[in-house]
């Protein structure tokens, strides 16, 4: 038993670091490291850089144009990327639909879609949840009725993350209304430019627009855009959800944000001393730090087991719950660290380019401007991707066997 990565893995880590040093521009990493919003272009540009290096399809096998990394290499890549302040990978193309296309898609679909996912030329979004089908996804109602070489799709999807940027959406639709819930579902790839699609923004509590409702009215989708067999979509959907959960703990991001918390707590003063030295606050930082350390090792144990078999088991639920709790704790401590200066809400101060009036220090330190909004936003973590309550059900059933 040993904790260290192998020599080859260390060499790989150095290679990733070198790439990040050479390719990651400071205007992007500044945004990420300081919690400012990234635009579509930032993500697309970064995806292009990765693609040029041959890393666009990060978790993909070589035969599909990926670098052929194992799960440990993917973990190292994501950790180093997060620490360096690279944009998080938008998972819907590379990590979600691509593995489904590789495993179950036709050769034509693989040729048509995979290269443009890798290069960032096409942006994908997810069409799973519906207003009445969240935790209970299999109760989804969006219909697809066969009409010659097409399906006609009607219904509504919701919580489509960054759907406003999407060129394509992968959708779960009901093709057999009479079958048992899970067995009447198909998996369709739908061009967002199709007539009959309407995207409506959902404004979130932090004022941000990152999710949407998508309405389908008589949307004609070629049958060729169906993945695999009709009515087998639930199988593909479950496969996809398994892939969504690799690196779900976000260890690298948590480490980066923890370091930021410590920096800020060193700059904030209470009773004339840095907040970092306040025993109560220091203990709370320590608590989240030891939780993170434990989770890192748990995550490495899962990865180590995956060297043998690449599938993600129910233990991903442990990573999801604990990971999201840690992210939420850090975001809460960050907000609390700045005390009353978490209160001002200045949209303009959340933009990377905004300049302070140098004659004033108002309102509060520059780093304070995004912290409350980020705390509010991070509440989503325990809700999406299978709520933490659902994850506990999975642990109780699949791991514990109750």
């Amino acid at each position: 038993m040993r904790l260290e990565f192998t020599d080859e893995e260390q060499v790989f880590r150095e290679e990733v670091r070198r790439f990040l040093r050479e390719q990651l521009s400071s205007d992007i990493s500044d945004k990420v490291l300081n919690g400012y919003e990234l635009g579509r272009e930032d993500h697309v540009m970064w995806q292009r850089r990765l693609h040029e290096r041959g890393w666009g399809g990060m978790g993909w096998p070589v035969e599909f144009g990926g670098p052929g990394w194992n799960s440990v290499q993917q973990y190292i890549f994501e950790e180093e990327s997060a620490l360096a302040g690279a944009p998080r990978l938008i998972p819907f193309g590379t990590k979600m639909v691509a593995p489904v296309i590789m495993a179950f898609g036709s050769v034509a679909q693989q040729r048509r879609f995979l290269p443009k996912i890798s290069s960032g030329a096409e942006w994908w979004c997810q069409g799973y949840s519906e207003p009445g089908a969240g935790s209970d996804l299999a109760s989804l109602k969006t219909r697809a009725v066969r009409d010659g070489d097409h399906y006609v799709v009607d219904g509504q999807k919701t919580w489509n993350t960054l759907g406003q940027y999407a060129d394509w959406i992968f959708c779960l639709v009901r093709t057999d209304p009479h079958a048992k819930q899970q067995s009447g579902i198909s998996f369709l790839l739908i061009d967002m430019k199709s007539p009959g699609i309407t995207v409506r923004p959902i404004m979130l509590l932090d004022g941000g627009h990152e999710v949407n409702e998508i309405w389908f009215e008589n949307v004609r989708v070629p049958v060729d855009n169906r993945i695999g067999e009709e009515n087998r979509g639930w199988t593909y959907a479950k496969f996809l959800l398994g892939h969504e959960r690799t690196n779900i703990a976000g260890i690298g991001i948590a480490k980066r944000e923890l370091a930021r918390l410590k920096r800020i707590a060193a700059c904030e003063y209470q009773h004339g001393r840095p907040l970092r030295e306040d025993p109560l606050f220091a203990a709370q930082i320590a608590q989240v730090e030891v939780d993170l350390w434990a989770l890192e090792i748990t995550n490495l144990r899962v990865l180590s087991a995956q060297r043998q078999s690449p599938s993600t088991g129910p233990e991903a639920s442990i990573l999801k719950i604990k990971g999201t709790e840690i992210h939420q704790s850090i975001s809460e401590l960050l907000m609390r660290a700045v005390g009353p200066y978490a209160l001002p809400l200045r949209r303009e101060a959340m933009e990377a380019g905004w300049q302070f009036d140098p004659t004033r220090e108002s309102p509060g330190p520059r780093y304070a401007s995004t912290l409350a909004s980020s705390y509010f936003n991070q509440r989503k973590l325990s809700i999406f991707g299978g709520s933490n309550e659902i994850q506990k059900n999975i642990i109780a059933k699949m791991i514990v066997g109750l």
């Binding site: 979130l204 004022g207 209470q270 109560l280 309102p363 409350a372 509440r379």
Partner: protein, 379 residues
Amino acid sequence: MNFEFSEEQRQLHDVVERYLSEQYGFARYKTIKGSAEGWDPSVWRGLADLGVLAITVPAAQGGLGFGPLETLAMMGDCGRTLLLEPVLSSAVIATAVLRAFAGEQQAGALLMRMAIGEEIAALAHFESGARFESQWVTTRASRRDDGYVLDGHKGVVMHAGAADTLLVSARTAGQVGDVRGVSLFMVPSAAPGLVMDIYPTVDGQRAADVYLQAVELPESSRLGAEGEALGAVEGALDIGLAALCADAVGVMQAMVDATIEYVRVRHQFGQPIGRFQALQHRIADMQIHLEQARSMSYLAALRCTDEDVRERRRALSAAKAVLGQAARFIGQQSVQLHGGMGMTDELKVSHWFKRLTAAQLMFGDSDSHLQRYASLTPA
């Protein structure tokens, strides 16, 4: 021992509840929140007509002469309806400051105008380096001729933009952190040299950072004896803290109610999600937090004017510590149990959540009050 509201307090509560329920719906709140000023003078007039702004103004200044229990009785509905108007800042805190000097001509006259809604005042005390320490005052008031000149910076002054008069604390003697040497001044918000940087707060209220550059004031603008004002400021902040607790309990009650309603109507897996025991227990925990918080809001109201400063602070710190923890749990879990909907701007839940979060950060967070409580409590 008796935890009933008096008939009079109940009536006051009913009047405020009816007015806000009728006049301050979610749509109205959103309109006001999105407006340039962030508060609505017609609502302010309505509150004045009901007597809400006169509740704690002494009878001699045309007020009702009531105290913290009457404030407690009406604040919950201000929280529940997400009231953005400066009731807490002006009708509770600034009024409490001025009441300490009600015998002085200028303070008395201002109180009279505040009681009928003609003027709004706000206490500008905390500074950017102060965090939650009330004696942290660096703003200076220097003697000049027959008056003073003020220089300094006050941070996150709630409702400063709505105020006609700011009650500004400044050092006339001593060093940062000294209890003595703090004086208090009535400063017209239009005074030359006073600049406000006004912004919304995360919960849609308004606040400002206030910059004072060579603001000249006459001697008569000083409230009370020179260098002896910190006690009055702290007394008013304690009264404000008790009122904030009551506001937060109103929000928490509304969130618990909304969550119970939601888990009854939201169906997944063929049944209302409220049938799942895991969620029932969560809501039971929310209810426990709510009742603990309500108890402490009573304690805060009953003790916030205690002459024994040590006992008063001990009780208020205990109250704010418990309140903050309850606000955190209820706020977070209410959003969680609403699922994605709880994250949206569309539902009231997220707005209550932000108001509770702001309440956690105001007047000292739970941790700072726990520490103060420990330091005030004999081992």
